[in-house]
Amino acid sequence: MNNHKAEIVINAVSENEAFARVVAAAFVTKLDPTIEEMADIKTAVSEAVTNSIIHAYDNKGGIIKIELEIKDDVFYVDVIDYGMGIENVKKAMEPMFTTLDSGERSGMGFVFMEAFMDELNVSSIVGEGTRVHMKKRIGSVSDTATEVALHGTKR
C-alpha cells in the first residue's frame, strides 16, 4: 500500500498560485507521472487556488489549505478556503459562467479542473467556505500512448 499525505496552508495572495501548483506537482512525482499528467495537475490546482483568491476572498486575502494524498496510484487534492462560499455550485461550474463582469475572467476554471482530473467535487456553504476535491489516477490506460512516446516503453 502506497500511501502518502501532505498538507500546506498558504495566504490567499496571487504570488502563491505558482507555489501551490509546484508543491502539488512535486508531491505527485512519487507516482512517476508523465509530463502531461503533471501539467494537468498543475493547471487544476492553479484554477482552484485562483478561484479561492479572487472569488472566495475577493482579492482581500485569507487562508487556503491544500490537502494532498496518494493512495496506491491515485492522487487526491483538496483545495479548501474559508471565504464567502458559492451560492449555486451547479451554475458556477457551467462553462463561461463568471460572477466578475470585468471581461478578464474566462469562466473556464471549473471546466479545466473537470477536464484535467478524473473526478471533481465541489462542496460549499455560503459564508463558511468551499472545498474543491479532485482525484486523478496516474498512469491510466489513456496515457499509455503518451508514455510510450516519451519513454519508448510501457510501464
Partner: protein, 119 residues
C-alpha cells in the same frame, strides 16, 4: 513596465511569460492596456514561444484584449504555442475567435495583411 513587449510598425508584440497564471496575467494586462491606451495601439500579437504553463487566466487575458482591440477595429493574433498551451486554448474554444499562427513572422504577415485591408 515589463520589458518583454515592444512596438513594431504600430503592432504591439508581447513575449508572453514562461508561466501565465492569474498573478502574471494581471501584470501583463496592466502593461498591455497602458500601451493600448497611451499609444493608441490596437493590434497585438501574443508570442507564446517561452510559455510552458497557462491556465484559464491566460484565456481571460487574451479574450479581454481581443474585446478591447475590437472596439477600435483592432486585432489580436496569437502565435508559437507549445502543446500544453495549445491544449488549453483549444479546450476554451479561443481558437474559434482569435487568429492563431505557428510563428511570429507568420503572425506579423497576418497582421500586415489585415492592416492593408483596413486602411
Amino acid at each position: 513596465m515589463n520589458n518583454n513587449m515592444y512596438v513594431k510598425s504600430n503592432v504591439l508584440i508581447v513575449e508572453a511569460d514562461v508561466e501565465i497564471d492569474h498573478h502574471r496575467a494581471e501584470r501583463t494586462r496592466k502593461s498591455v492596456d497602458f500601451i493600448m491606451d497611451n499609444m493608441g495601439i490596437d493590434k497585438i500579437i501574443f508570442d507564446f514561444r517561452e510559455t510552458q504553463f497557462m491556465d484559464s487566466s491566460g484565456i481571460g487575458l487574451i479574450m479581454g484584449r481581443y474585446e478591447k482591440a475590437k472596439l477600435t477595429g483592432g486585432r489580436v493574433v496569437i502565435a508559437n504555442m507549445n502543446s500544453s498551451v495549445d491544449r488549453v486554448i483549444k479546450m476554451s474554444g479561443l481558437d474559434n475567435k482569435i487568429c492563431v499562427r505557428n510563428s511570429l513572422s507568420e503572425a506579423i504577415d497576418e497582421m500586415n495583411a489585415y492592416k492593408s485591408k483596413n486602411v
